[in-house]
């Protein structure tokens, strides 16, 4: 809309900023008790569009606040580098459908190494391109991490994640809260 100077009356925001706002306001009652004894480790993928390309770290900082709230600060392991300096996963810009899978995976090797260095067993990827690419490179390079949407983990922490809504969870979390 900015690029084409299309006038619009509505305001634009992201669900991540709303999650953070709702937690701070007490509307979204969620905590990390479920993971206290389990100690399952999570890392993060900073989508370029809401990080570096948004012009500030506001959204990716909100993202960290939400993740730490739902998995526990001690169970969150950040990537290096991160936030506005993060590496692209290699799936963006249409790469997933561009028809050059070998180059896309070679690109993704940087992201793969970043994730492996965290030692986390789950990657929270709040963008569908990132989600698809990180799953693919995990499989390709032979890692056993799982890639999950943020909403899955929020509902898991709230104890309302349904049986059919666990496609991306590993066996360690498949039964939690059922």
């Amino acid at each position: 809309m900015r690029k084409f100077k299309i006038p619009h009356k509505f305001e634009f925001t992201t669900i991540i900023e709303l999650y953070a706002q709702w937690i701070k306001e007490g509307k979204l009652k969620v905590n990390s008790d479920w993971n206290k004894d389990l100690g399952v480790k999570f890392t993060i993928q900073d989508p370029c569009n809401i990080g570096r390309k948004s012009g500030s770290n506001k959204i990716v900082d909100d993202l960290r606040f939400v993740i730490k709230t739902v998995v526990g600060e001690e169970n969150f392991i950040d990537t290096v580098p991160n936030r506005d300096n993060n590496y692209c996963c290699g799936g963006g810009g249409g790469a997933l459908q561009a028809g050059f899978p070998d180059q896309r995976r070679a690109y993704g090797r940087t992201k793969f190494n970043q994730i492996m260095a965290t030692g986390a067993s789950y990657v929270i990827a709040p963008c569908h391109n990132c989600h698809g690419q990180i799953e693919d490179i995990g499989e390709h390079y032979g890692a056993d991490y799982h890639v999950v949407h943020l909403w899955t983990i929020i509902c898991l922490a709230m104890g309302v994640l349904g049986e059919d809504e666990r496609t991306y969870l590993g066996p360690d979390l498949a039964e939690v809260g059922l």
């Binding site: 305001e11 810009g93 790469a95 459908q97 561009a98 569908h128």
Partner: protein, 239 residues
């Protein structure tokens, strides 16, 4: 051995063409420091990297710049520009190289998704009727099978809703049960929200394809629908 590049015979027309559109692209300010390339995960793929590309552009190797496929491997992530001491608009250069390729010769996958989006409202080709049916059907299933959510509210085109949410078409098309967790969070906080039937999908392959016309059309249709039909004050990007 390859011949040396004869700079005197080259005219950098493509550079001027892009500069006419993006006057602050700063191509001529390149210090050749290579910081862009050092921090680029796509460097070396197809024997290309950002510094090399800028050199070629500045020298007027227009044919070579437009040739090859590196512009489809680069994801326009903008890490190069964010560390560039001269703030050179490398991602926009890539966008313009993509745009210089004849439309029908751009990658089939991206082209197909863009065309489907223009035609149906989503890159996976799900029409608005199919989207509406899937969403309402899934919501009904949750209400029937999960007792905590028997009053779950999910709607399409509910006029006056406080928030309009987009939805990546991957969920309604291939894994509708993945929408449930998002709806449950919205339910828990008592959000007043709806989906739009027009250009409801969160993705935008016309943007990736550097199809300005298609990209603009998608945005205009969406903005018009939200402002004039739904009259909602907030749009929420769900990814």
């Amino acid at each position: 051995m390859e011949d040396a590049i004869k700079i005197d015979e080259l005219v950098p027309e493509f550079k001027d063409e892009i500069l006419a559109k993006i006057p602050d692209a700063n191509f001529d300010l390149c210090l050749t420091c290579g910081t862009c390339t050092g921090g680029c995960a796509a460097s070396e793929l197809f024997d290309m990297d950002p510094r090399k590309l800028i050199r070629m552009l500045n020298m007027g190797m227009d044919d070579e710049v437009k040739k090859g496929n590196w512009m489809w491997v680069c994801s326009m992530c903008a890490r190069c520009q964010s560390v560039c001491p001269m703030n050179i608009a490398i991602p926009k250069l890539i966008f313009n190289i993509r745009a210089s390729v004849e439309r029908s010769k751009r990658p089939k996958g991206i082209l197909g998704s863009c065309d489907l989006h223009i035609k149906t409202g989503s890159a996976m080709g799900a029409k608005k009727e199919d989207f509406e049916f899937t969403v309402l059907d899934m919501a009904e299933e949750i209400r029937e099978t999960q007792s905590d959510f028997e009053d779950l509210q999910v709607s399409v085109d509910r006029v006056g809703a406080h928030m309009v949410l987009n939805q990546n078409s991957r969920e309604p098309v291939t894994e509708p049960e993945e929408m449930g967790p998002l709806w449950k969070v919205l339910h828990a906080v008592g959000a007043d929200w709806t989906y739009p039937s027009v250009m409801w999908a969160g993705e935008n392959y016309c943007m990736f394809m550097a199809d300005d016309e298609g990209w603009r059309y998608i945005m205009e249709e969406f903005v018009h629908h939200v402002d004039n039909t739904l009259k909602s004050p907030f749009v929420v990007n769900t990814e």
